[in-house]
């Protein structure tokens, strides 16, 4: 009985080997290696897109308490830089934003000149305000927590702010993306000290930056 079974198995093995030989043009020299399947994060199917910030449709707005009375608002008209983002890979989000200090606009020329003076932003010596992100984490589908280096008057401090993705579209004019963030800084951290001692202006400046950017 055992001999019959052994003969049947041998015959089967011969048939199987012959069959494999028919299906493969060249028999493998070595036995196939069996490896465990790799467990990896799903790869994004597309590369991160770099967007160029459109200064026409981007704005920086600041707010400061004036004499303890009203909240005074002004804006920076010239916001430029780049944004990198892949919707499938939130960690790819990065910001490199530049605000031209000389574009400060309060609708009053003499106040603009005062804000450009060394009392405030000192545009002659520090013409740009910059933000470069260093880390990003996703809060929800449209919200990110972004950490980065904010430089004002040549002084760099690390800040963390919540950034909202306000939209991403494929229009006739190409791919566009929009982000917005609001954060508060202590201006004395950046050497903007005028009016602190006498209480003319508040210590905190709230900044709202809204950016629209076009895919490169």
């Amino acid at each position: 009985m055992n001999k019959r079974i052994a003969a049947a198995l041998s015959f089967g093995a011969i048939i199987l080997t012959t069959g494999l030989g028919l299906t493969h043009a060249a028999p493998r020299a070595t036995a196939p290696r069996i490896t465990a399947p790799r467990i990896t994060a799903p790869r994004p199917t597309q590369e991160a897109t770099t967007y160029t910030i459109d200064p026409v449709h981007s704005t920086g707005i600041f707010r400061v308490h004036h004499f303890g009375a009203a909240m005074f608002y002004g804006r920076f008209n010239d916001v430029t830089g780049t944004i990198t983002y892949n919707p499938e890979d939130p960690a790819s989000l990065s910001f490199d934003v530049v605000i031209d200090v000389e574009s400060v606009d309060t609708n009053t020329e003499r106040l603009n000149n005062h804000l450009k003076s060394p009392d405030f932003f000192n545009a002659k010596e520090f013409s740009e305000m910059t933000f470069k992100s260093t880390a990003v984490s996703k809060v929800d589908d449209d919200t990110f927590e972004v950490t980065g280096n904010l430089t004002i008057r040549g002084i760099t401090k690390t800040i963390t702010t919540q950034v909202d993705l306000t939209g991403i579209v494929n229009s006739r004019r190409g791919k566009k993306i929009g982000f917005e963030t609001i954060f508060t800084v202590d201006r004395s951290d950046y050497g903007v000290n005028y009016g602190l001692e006498n209480g003319v202006l508040g210590r905190e400046i709230r900044l709202l930056v809204s950016m629209e950017a076009n895919a490169q």
């Binding site: 009053t108 009392d119 050497g191 000290n193």
Partner: protein, 286 residues
């Protein structure tokens, strides 16, 4: 401009400085007309400058973040640099010692200039003008004690304050207002003590601050004001020497003072008119 800013930035510093001048020249010792207070002029002016600067920009600004912020240290240096001359009553060697220190201090202010033309022409120009004005002012102050110089500098610093206010910024106008206040106090003291003088102690700061403030104000200017309005007030000091012409010195003392005031006012007034002509009609007041 708000009253609070004026009190903290002008009135308080000027009052402190006036107290120093009073201690220096002691107008209550009328018989001998005390002249031992030459040390107090520089100290009073520097004190007013520093207190006014800090009242506007806070203690944090003592850690300089811009060229302008160095000026507070320049004021301190210029306030004490004349002390040896004032205390020893010999002005030659401290003056020559102070010259290079002055140039060094101004270099510190202007060091990070990004405009080569401005740096190459402006720096030696500023140093040269400062030293030139100093050497004009010191013998004049020695020769002409009394009310002439305090009231002349009151006009000069008031003029610079107006020019600086119109061309942007508030720190320099307020500081110049404080310095005007010190000169006003000095004028009153000089009426009580005719031997009051700015020579030795105060001349380094009085000769150097007007060109330095105007230089920086001109560099930071966004108003489009003509360069002449930053130069004209400096003509006031050389013009003061015209007050030493015999036609004026032969007159009564008060007529001489009026004549010198008139001479100083001309370039300052022209500069102010020039600035006003370039200004917009914005309602903004710092």
């Amino acid at each position: 401009m708000e009253v609070q800013i004026l009190i903290q930035g002008v009135v308080l510093p000027a009052a402190l400085a006036a107290a120093v001048l009073l201690l220096g020249f002691r107008p209550w010792q009328r018989k001998e007309h005390y002249q031992g207070g030459l040390w107090s002029g520089g100290i009073a002016l520097a004190l007013a400058f520093i207190v006014s600067f800090i009242s506007q920009n806070g203690w944090e600004s003592l850690q300089p973040n811009s060229k302008r912020d160095w000026i507070v240290y320049l004021a301190l240096a210029l306030g004490v640099i004349g002390l040896p001359a004032a205390l020893l009553r010999k002005s030659t060697w401290p003056t020559w010692l102070a010259g290079p220190l002055l140039v060094l201090a101004i270099t510190l202010i202007i060091k990070p200039l990004d405009n080569p033309t401005y740096a190459l022409l402006g720096l030696p120009g500023l140093c040269g003008v400062s030293v030139f004005l100093w050497f004009l002012l010191e013998p004049l102050a020695r020769r002409r004690p009394g009310a002439s110089l305090p009231i002349s500098f009151l006009i000069i610093f008031t003029g610079i304050a107006i020019i600086a206010e119109l061309t942007g910024g508030i720190t320099f106008p307020i500081i110049c207002g404080a310095l005007s206040g010190v000169c006003g106090a000095a004028f009153v003291i000089s009426l009580l003590n005719p031997r009051f003088s700015f020579h030795a102690g105060a001349t380094p700061l009085l000769a150097t601050m007007p060109p330095t403030i105007l230089w920086l104000q001109g560099w930071y200017d966004y108003s489009g004001a003509p360069v002449a309005c930053f130069l004209l007030p400096l003509l006031a000091l050389p013009l003061l020497w015209l007050g030493e012409l015999p036609v004026i010195t032969r007159q009564r003392p008060w007529i001489g003072v009026v004549a010198r005031v008139f001479l100083v006012t001309i370039p300052v007034a022209i500069a102010i008119v020039l600035v006003m002509n370039t200004q917009s009609s914005d309602p903004y007041s710092p």
